[in-house]
Symmetry: C2
């Protein structure tokens, strides 16, 4: 899997604020602000940024500007901008934009590990969704890096414990379609270090040609502990979002509960303190975190945004971080 790692880092983080993060926000960010944020993420070292979603604008107005965001955001060598695609129509939009010289260079393909969640989240049975994915792969025609994502990889709020055999078969199915990056989603935040290690070890053993990606939610505060567990069994790709925004909309759909992505700034801080190189500019990390808070107009979940970077790996002079009128 080392082949997929840029030389300057030990892990590749995908910053998801602009899509997964914004999807459930009520505020619609101006297109220029989105593009500026995404460009900033790339500017401080993220080589993967989830930029937008080619979704139906009447269903998700936040992403009605998908093409425009992708058109105006700054390009950077080696950076993948991901667009979420739910169906063939979405992939066709991505292809059309790319033909005009912009657009995403990475798209995601989503499957649920259980039928109940597939019906609720995608309005399709698992088998219908797999047919859909095959058509999407065909429509993509090799123009994009493909990211397969299996949500509810550990548990389903409707069906309970998820059989790891089902998850592994889904991962193999992605691989058979030529998808080389497969994400395991702890959608409802139920994984532990034990189950995290077990599932990723099995995936690496059974599908060594596939790059495993962890996309966990911090529903029960277990984001960092599970990501470290995954890292220590060899996972090198992780999804996260500044301020811990986004994640599974438990609150909206399932009646209560905290949700959220793993918080970028805290994850980067911990990895770097462990000597794990993220490739992120540590001098700019908290400034960008504050920029994300300013964009949403509220204090977010990042702990280091309040407390400062871990001083043990930084020169003292560099860590005198003061909130600079944080919301300004």
């Amino acid at each position: 899997m080392k082949a997929f790692l840029p030389a300057d880092r030990d892990v590749v983080l995908c910053e998801c604020f602009a899509r997964d993060g914004l999807q459930h926000e009520t505020v619609i960010l101006p297109t220029a602000d989105k593009a500026a944020l995404i460009g900033r993420f790339a500017g401080i070292g993220f080589t993967r940024v989830e930029a937008t979603s080619y979704s139906n604008p009447t269903v998700i107005p936040q992403f009605s500007d998908a093409s425009e965001v992708l058109r105006i955001l700054p390009r950077k060598e080696g950076v993948y901008y991901k667009a979420t695609c739910a169906n063939v129509r979405a992939v066709e939009r991505a292809v059309a934009d790319q033909a005009q010289g912009f657009g995403a260079n990475e798209i995601s393909l989503l499957v649920s590990a259980t039928d109940s969640h597939s019906m609720k989240n995608l309005a399709r049975s698992r088998e219908d969704q797999w047919a859909n994915i095959a058509n999407m792969v065909a429509a993509a025609g090799g123009r994009f890096r493909l990211i397969g994502t299996i949500s509810m990889a550990f548990d389903c709020p409707f069906e309970g414990h998820v059989d790891p055999n089902v998850v592994m078969r889904d991962a193999a199915r992605f691989a058979a379609l030529g998808v080389r990056h497969v994400t395991l989603g702890d959608t409802t935040g139920v994984a532990t270090p034990l189950t995290t290690r077990a599932l990723f070890k099995r995936m690496q053993s059974e599908l060594p040609e596939v790059e495993a990606i962890a996309h966990f939610h911090d529903t029960r505060g277990t984001g960092l502990v599970n990501y470290v567990a995954a890292f220590e069994v060899g996972v090198r790709y992780f999804d996260c979002a500044f301020g811990g925004v986004g994640g599974h909309p438990v609150k909206v759909k399932y009646g209560g509960g905290y949700t959220g992505n793993v918080t970028t700034e805290d994850l980067v801080d911990l990895f770097e303190a462990m000597g794990v190189r993220t490739g992120i500019d540590m001098g700019a990390l908290l400034d960008v975190a504050q920029q994300c808070e300013a964009a949403l107009g509220r204090e977010l979940q990042g702990r280091v945004t309040r407390s400062g970077l871990n001083p043990l790996y930084r020169p003292k002079a560099a860590i005198a971080v003061q909130p600079q009128g944080a919301m300004a």
Copy 2:
């Protein structure tokens, strides 16, 4: 170390809400409410509860009722109620209360790993504090279980990186005084799984007769990841507080930053989901968390208080937790 473990659990958690938690709160809780909360903690299975502090009431008014709290709270076989003692006068108060048939049966002795922090936090140099501790041990006269605590065991905001040799010498000094429980404090939340494992492994190797206790702060969101790391190298005693309250007063003394203890409800949830028996009544955990929120009149940091217990180790019927007018 197994000798110190009750038969019904794999770890012993010390619930610190009533002392470490309340110490920096502006609201003074009524004495009866404190005793009721402490009794509830013991009632749902905590065998160690930090109950109060024999401190100077003019300095810390919150604990001016120390003796009264200890007098009225319900006793329970096998439960240790800890009182924090800063000096010989405090130990003498603990002895006097115990002579009347109540009082604490566990007291803590605090040393800082650096002189700068010792002066700021204890108003004594390290050597003066060690003399103080020797006098306190003498005054205690074998009437209490003694808990030695080394704060700033990983880093000091004034002196930077702390030499592990200094920490180990302090731990050995406690052991030489007959103290059999020694706490390593990650006071400013800078430890990582790597440094956590290294320091506790070394302590177990050099002082096998000492029971190691972890008292970490969640300043950078690393509480759970470091506690799991400590558990996996053999640590069995952990400090935590409902709602993540308390912790090092970075905000008060050092100009900004999030602080807080490791959140009890999230820690218990994670341990139990890993099959690590905490001895805590899972059916009552969230109710007590909500009781703590009600006592302080605000929403606290617990994630499972909002999201519910991890469903993978509970019957579905037991996890339909709804916030019941949480602040009521």
